[in-house]
């Protein structure tokens, strides 16, 4: 195996995801400040710095930081408006919260020695379940029983409709699963792959290849971080649209 021919290669690709208490050793209670807490809080701070302190000038002609903040705002605002329509704009703050949190947690997780909260199923599952539960409740509140029309494909032949209804129902309940695992899996996979390449760097002969590979993976990960935040957000918008306009 690898370690025999390379003389003691050590792979610990998953160690970077361990949740540890920030101060001292011991058990991780629900209130314990951990490294996950730290990096989530840093994400919140970064968001505040960009979106609040970056825009405190309220300038008509924006400076650099303010134009980045406006770019984010405009992008998410347009996404919500395009996908869900005007009546979806009521939920724009929450969608923006999701997008900013995921984006900043992803990007901060790319820093060396950092921790990615979004690589944990626990975090992404909560995000996805919040969206799923919120959308389902909203759908029933807004449309009542009419919301069930989402599963009754009226454009299909009558004989097929029960079958399709079962499929639609299953796919509806798979939504939070794929929604959460997509994000966590992408981030986890990227970080683990970089870690594996980093372990190969211990062997002098292949170290240059390994360094180049890490650089390339890092570039890909930057892209993936942005795209996953975008995808999570736009899927949220799509689910929201289903709740607001369930007509199939």
């Amino acid at each position: 195996m690898a370690e025999e021919e390379a003389g003691g290669l050590v792979f610990h690709p998953m160690d970077q995801f361990v949740v540890k208490p920030l101060f001292g050793e011991g058990a991780v209670n629900w209130y314990t400040p951990t490294n996950a807490t730290l990096w989530m809080a840093l994400a919140a701070l970064a968001i505040t710095a960009l979106l609040v302190f970056g825009t405190r000038g309220r300038a008509i002609v924006p400076n650099r930081v303010q134009s980045i903040a406006e770019l984010l705002y405009g992008m998410v605002h347009k996404m919500v408006e395009d996908v869900t329509g005007k009546d979806g704009l009521k939920y724009f703050p929450y969608v923006m919260t999701l997008f900013c949190f995921i984006l900043f947690a992803n990007f901060l997780g790319l820093l060396p020695k950092s921790f990615s909260p979004t690589s944990h199923i626990a975090v992404t599952a909560v995000l996805a379940v919040l969206v799923f539960a919120g959308v389902t409740v909203l759908g029933f509140v807004k449309n009542g029983a009419h919301f069930l029309g989402l599963f009754w494909v009226s454009s299909a032949p009558l004989a097929l409709r029960p079958v399709l209804a079962v499929i639609e129902l299953i796919s509806y309940f798979v939504r939070p699963v794929s929604h959460s695992i997509r994000l966590a899996g992408n981030i986890m996979a990227g970080h683990a792959v970089i870690k594996v390449f980093a372990a190969f760097a211990a062997v002098a002969a292949i170290a240059p290849v390994s360094v180049v590979a890490i650089t390339a993976m890092y570039g890909l990960e930057v892209l993936v971080c942005l795209i996953q935040a975008y995808v999570f957000t736009i899927l949220t918008c799509v689910y929201l649209k289903d709740a607001l306009h369930p007509a199939h």
């Binding site: 794929s178 695992i181 899996g185 992408n186 996979a189 795209i227 975008y230 995808v231």
Partner: protein
Amino acid sequence: MENLGQLGQYLGAGLACVGMAGAAMGVGNVAGNYLAGALRNPSAAASQTATLFIGMAFAEALGIFSFLVALLLLFAV
């Protein structure tokens, strides 16, 4: 006997990774068709990028599932 079990674990993990090939083909298919359509009608391309990403995300999610199965076999069984 324990080694045999581990053998199964690793074999299964490796086989699960084959599923990523399917996801790769799916994502490539989505991107390729998008590009083909965009070259035919560039004016409509910009309005469909959101659909492109949604399609890629769905295709990619299945690859991530196979990756997850591999990880579960390696570390959690």
